[in-house]
């Protein structure tokens, strides 16, 4: 029973950071995020980079599923479209990666908008399976457009900082940059670049929830007919959410491409990625930016943890060694999610609200 404190003024309702908790949280999180790449080794730095990618991807999914209530299994299609666009623009035109990423977003958004009309007629699982179909179609198209994508071979992601045949430029991205005592390796540069994108998308999504558009989406999610009676255009809300969501997903795809350095695609992998994003937002708590961010962080951190945990468990349970490391992570993650969701369908958000309420009401029960 998560409840909001009673608000008596409109200004309170519209505040971006409504209470002390948000401010304290941000005051801790932002310096920590800035210091993180200098505090950890390269393995955990990679985890940090992945976390930003997954946070942006999860925010994209949250706009569609969390805000607008449209259940989609096709999220990976937009991610891969964004990633492949970034890689192809870099390879064919020599476009700098930071310029190609927004184009990835636009291509994904264009395809996302084309699904919009289906969302107007279909709902629930019907829409979900149509988006699954979209995923397989995109997958098939990327596989067979061999001159551009190199098919099953995969495509390397070039990291130009400026067009190679033009003068000027910003130096070589893969070189370490020294700013006084601060040493910026490639990974750290990517980290700050990703951090910037993630902050902008989280802030944007948070703000979206306060705008007319965002509130219309949430109204459609909660009760579409009632929303229509109130003068909201559900068609517009749904199509907007598809467009925005796939744009953000495309951006996340571009980031994913830069982070992975090499893109390959197959049907099982892309399906798994869609499922991962669904898992992330459900684990975090559907319908909030908090859920997207924390779901993504926990998901990304669980992977190396699973590896270490199974390393310890192997001598005790020899049959576990039949699993690949990816399967081990999936196994641990699914056990965590199943147990968590049975006790708390709101995910991490539910736990957070419960903890917060306990301390706010202390010494009383409620």
């Amino acid at each position: 029973m998560p409840t909001k404190p009673l608000q008596t003024r409109y200004e309170d309702d519209q505040k971006l950071f409504p209470d002390m908790w948000h401010k304290v949280g941000l005051a801790i999180a932002i310096p920590l995020a800035l210091a993180y790449p200098f505090l950890v080794n390269s393995q955990w730095l990679t985890v940090g980079n992945q976390a930003w990618v997954y946070i942006v991807g999860a925010i994209g999914m949250m706009i569609l599923t969390g805000f607008c209530g449209q259940f989609s299994v096709g999220h990976a299609a937009f991610i891969y479209l964004g990633g492949y666009t970034t890689a192809i623009l870099g390879e064919q035109l020599g476009m700098p990666f930071w310029m190609a990423i927004p184009f990835g977003g636009l291509v994904a958004a264009a395809v996302g908008l084309s699904v919009g009309p289906f969302a107007l007629r279909l709902e629930g699982y019907y829409l979900a399976i149509v988006t699954l179909g979209l995923l397989f179609l995109v997958n098939h198209t990327l596989m067979s457009a061999e001159p551009l994508t190199h098919g099953a071979m995969g495509i390397a992601v070039p990291m130009h900082t400026w067009f190679p045949d033009e003068p000027g430029g910003l130096g070589n991205f893969s070189e370490t940059l020294n700013l006084g005592p601060i040493e910026l390796t490639v990974e750290r540069k990517l980290y700050f670049f990703f951090l910037l994108i993630a902050l902008v998308s989280a802030y944007g999504a948070k703000n979206l929830m306060r705008t007319n558009t965002g509130r219309a989406m949430m109204a459609v999610r909660d009760h579409d007919i009632a929303a229509e009676v109130m003068g909201i255009n559900p068609a517009r809300a749904k199509i907007t959410s598809f467009g925005l969501s796939s744009f953000v997903a495309g951006i996340a795809g571009g980031m994913y491409a830069c982070q992975q350095q090499y893109l390959t695609i197959d049907q099982g992998m892309s399906f798994m990625m869609s499922i991962q994003y669904i898992a992330i937002i459900v684990l975090g708590g559907i319908g909030t930016v908090f859920g997207a961010v924390w779901g993504a962080i926990v998901y990304v951190v669980l992977n190396p943890l699973a590896e270490e945990l199974f390393e310890v468990a192997k001598p005790l349970l020899p049959m576990l060694s039949g699993l690949s490391s990816h399967q081990q992570a999936t196994l641990l993650f699914s056990v965590v999610v199943v147990v968590l969701l049975i006790f708390e369908p709101l995910g991490l958000l539910g736990f957070w609200l419960r903890t917060k309420r306990y301390f706010m009401a202390w010494p009383f029960k409620y």
Binding site: F118, Y125, I129, A279, S334
Partner: protein
């Protein structure tokens, strides 16, 4: 030419029978609880693995088939009791997503206990034996899976329509609260529903193992190809699922034979996505599938 077509149709029908069984398993649980049960996929794999395992232990073929089906059903009922029962009354989307993770868990268990290597599905006859029908050579395996599929489907319809348990299942599916008020133990009925869905999964797994004649942990992902059949038939309709399963099976085989070569480079493996394309086209005209129930919505 004609023989070729008949051969393709026979292949399509037996693939369709497998799809129909898979789709029916999904629809049965969807009707009972409006949950789309993704855990059905690893249940198929489990069925096939149990069958192979039992045969290896020296159990006669027919007996191990029945044993694999019953055991898979019991596993499904256990999943219902352990994971699904606590979720009753909670958000249905969250419950559906939960089944995805149950699926991952079961899949990992299959790999841990069964290993990853491919194996053949044992059959009492020669696996490659064919019989001539109308000038086409048809695999005995295909015919058997077709027949077994039809028998199972018939048996299931009899259960649903003519037994007390079936009536109770339909009642629980249409309104849980009203069923409870009439003294129907909805929890037990749900368990029974999952059991039968598991039995169907076991049979489906055996047949999927028999038709391409290989059993590996990825066998269950064939269900991804059965999704268009479920949607095409309409989620609420068992009959629709079965019909659409056959339609999709035949379409897929025909697309593989005639459409793939016509599309050039784009046509490679195109039969894998063609059912989805077909489904999307049908949904444009009929948003609730061929036999789905269009709910009347009131504010």
């Amino acid at each position: 030419m004609m023989g070729n077509l008949i051969q393709l149709l026979a292949g399509g029908l037996s693939l369709g029978a497998a799809y129909a069984l898979v789709a029916l398993g999904f629809v049965v649980i969807y009707r009972a609880s409006t949950v789309l049960n993704f855990a059905h996929m690893p249940l198929l794999t489990t069925g096939a693995f149990l069958m192979v395992g039992l045969c290896k232990m020296g159990v006669p073929w027919g007996l191990s088939a029945i044993g694999a089906m019953v055991l898979t059903g019991a596993l499904a009922a256990a999943v219902e009791r352990g994971v699904m029962r606590p979720m009753i009354g909670k958000d249905i989307v969250v419950t559906s997503i939960l089944t995805i993770f149950v699926a991952f868990f079961l899949e990992a268990m299959v790999i841990i206990l069964g290993g990853v290597e491919q194996r053949g599905m044992p059959t009492p006859w020669d696996t490659m034996r064919t019989v001539p029908i109308l000038g086409a050579k048809v695999l005995v395996n295909s015919l058997v899976s077709l027949a077994a599929g039809l028998v199972a489907l018939g048996g299931f319809f009899a259960l649903i329509n003519y037994t007390k348990l079936g009536v109770a299942m339909r009642a629980a599916a249409s309104d849980q609260e009203a069923s409870l008020a009439h003294g129907i133990p909805v929890g037990k009925i749900l368990s029974a529903t999952w059991f039968f869905s598991g039995v169907l999964a076991g049979l489906g797994g055996i047949m999927l193992g028999m038709f391409p004649n290989q059993v590996d942990p990825l066998l269950g992902t064939i269900a991804l190809r059965a999704f268009p059949a479920i949607i095409l038939g309409g989620l609420e309709s068992p009959l629709g699922a079965v019909l659409a399963g056959f339609i999709m099976g035949i379409l897929e085989v025909l697309a593989q034979a005639y459409l793939n070569p016509a599309l050039g480079a784009f046509g490679q493996n195109f039969h894998g996505v063609f059912p989805y394309l077909f489904m999307i086209l049908v949904l444009i005209v009929r948003p609730h599938g061929l036999f789905g129930v269009q709910e009347v919505k009131r504010a």
